[in-house]
């Protein structure tokens, strides 16, 4: 089979998995809605807190006005929506319930259906979230200095952020092969995300050394970077460096996926599937 045919077959697979997930998702409109509320609430809380702080300390904190924070968190909400995964919870369930066995019987790497599954559900949730973000924009009046090159650079940055986050969280999810207490690992991960990805505050508000640390870790490149980029807070050089860092992390995480998946399957097939 040629490479081209391979690619085409993979396209079919993605399309079909996409349809399957879509059909499943629409059956769960209520739970989808509740899930989305939590996606909105968290950034909304930070937005309100930081706006208040900013207004209280002479109109600006670390270069962000209340309206600047509004822009930051509304964009963060959307970028987070595009890049988030729920694969860690999913995997624990799959391994514990033995569903993974079905995936292992299939002549295709299971990550493909997971990616397609993830994208498909976003197709439903993203438009709704954009409407919500629009509504919130009317209340909080966000301002940002939009520039064309940054908007254009934002698109690959967003795609790369999705890839890095997906691949790393997929790798992390494989911890389920080794331990039954995955939630402890997840908690540590979420905590690192909270501080180093720019969730609790834009990274520029942190001490310099934390920013340096964040640059060498993947978290910023999964969420904070595309947000800062779109809002015109980065120089062209910083943008290029960021895209480079993202590319490096894509490669590192692809390698991790490969290695850890193999090792995990070896463990899984040793202890009993």
């Amino acid at each position: 089979m040629t490479r081209f045919q391979d690619l085409r077959e993979m396209g079919y697979l993605y399309a079909q998995q996409f349809k399957t997930t879509f059909a499943t998702m629409v059956q769960y409109r209520a739970s989808l809605f509740i899930w989305m509320i939590s996606q909105v609430l968290e950034p909304l809380v930070y937005l309100i807190v930081w706006s208040t702080v900013s207004n209280g300390s002479g109109g600006s904190v670390g270069g962000y006005t209340a309206r600047g924070f509004a822009a930051y968190y509304l964009v963060l909400m959307l970028v987070n929506q595009v890049t988030y995964t729920w694969i860690m919870f999913e995997y624990e369930y799959r391994v514990r319930q033995g569903f993974l066995s079905f995936a292992l019987l299939k002549p295709v790497h299971p990550i493909h259906s997971d990616i397609s599954d993830n994208l498909s559900s976003k197709l439903i949730t993203l438009p709704i979230l954009m409407v919500i973000a629009g509504g919130l924009a009317l209340i909080f009046h966000p301002t940002a200095s939009l520039v064309l090159w940054a908007i254009l650079a934002f698109l690959p940055a967003l795609a790369l952020a999705f890839l890095v986050r997906f691949l790393l969280e997929w790798t992390l999810a494989l911890a389920a092969f080794w331990t039954t207490r995955v939630s402890a690992i997840n908690q540590v991960y979420f905590l690192l995300m909270l501080f180093l990805a720019g969730q609790i505050a834009p990274l520029t508000l942190f001490p310099r050394w934390i920013q340096v640390v964040a640059d060498f870790l993947p978290f910023r490149w999964m969420l904070g970077f595309p947000v800062e980029l779109l809002l015109g807070r980065l120089t062209p050089l910083q943008a290029l460096e960021g895209l480079g860092a993202q590319l490096i992390w894509v490669m590192i995480s692809l390698l991790l996926v490969r290695l850890i998946w193999r090792a995990g399957v070896r463990v899984y097939s040793a202890v009993g599937a």
């Binding site: 079909q16 059956q27 066995s101 292992l104 019987l105 002549p107 097939s269 040793a270 009993g272």
Partner: protein, 326 residues
Amino acid sequence: MTEPAIHLHELCKTYRVPEREPGMGSAVRSLFHRRMQEVPAVNDLTFDLAPGEMVGFLGPNGAGKTTTLKMLSGLLQPTAGECRVLGAVPSRRERAFLRRITLVMGQRNQLVWDIPAADSFELNRVIYRIPSADFRRTLDELTGLLDLGPLLKKPVRNLSLGERMKCEIAAALLHRPQVVFLDEPTIGLDVTMQRRIRAFIAEYNHRLGATILLTSHYMADVEALCKRVIVIHHGRLLFDGNLSDLLQQFTAHKTIIVQLEDCQADLHAYGEVIDCEDGRTTLRVPKASTAHVTERLLADLPVIDLLVEDPPIEEVIDRVFTQEAV
């Protein structure tokens, strides 16, 4: 002789499980030092299946049947020994290999719960890269054989257990696997549905010449489908041969049911009396002396009717397992 479709040679699987006494103290201790216990699940299993053969794989719960099937389908790595399926080493899980086999687990479902089976079938079509024409032909065939027509468009969660099982089986066979592992395919189903699925398995084996290894707790399945059976217990091979030979070998007794004119007669002298009711007496006699006892009964007593029966097959199998345990 052609190469066997399935080949096991001294195949072993030992699980290492953490061992812990109950109680807080040992719970704390196990945090620091985990004692592992080796539990042999499959021990030195050697057998071959020729292409096209359909074989019953029997054993009580925990005998190692599912472990063996999982090793053969590449889900489990053997601890020692080797196995080959269609010439491939299953644990390598090569794509070409996975496209030629299937494993149906009666107690687990692969179909997506919330969507119609037809959608899951489509997903399998792309996963297995089944050409559209082949897919349609196979699907039509399966739909006819399993009577799936009205089921395909309903969400799987709205199907009954039997209907769902039929769809599961169809989903597992869409890629026309040459080797089929069936683990309890009829579990929990009513007799009619069992018979239906049984007939289908026979038909599939016949039409495609597929090699089938089947486990079931329902001896009727095995009796109807398999000439040859492989019996394992505690992971070891106990018997490999014709079902009729197995029954022959492990049937030590026969049952004689005699109907007499005189209801009062005491038949203890002829054999073990199991049941006595309205002049009908059921006797259990050693197989070797069946002819002799029958002869004596007919000569000595006013017999109206006499029936010699083999014990039910379940009973025989039960004997096979308990005997080994002693």
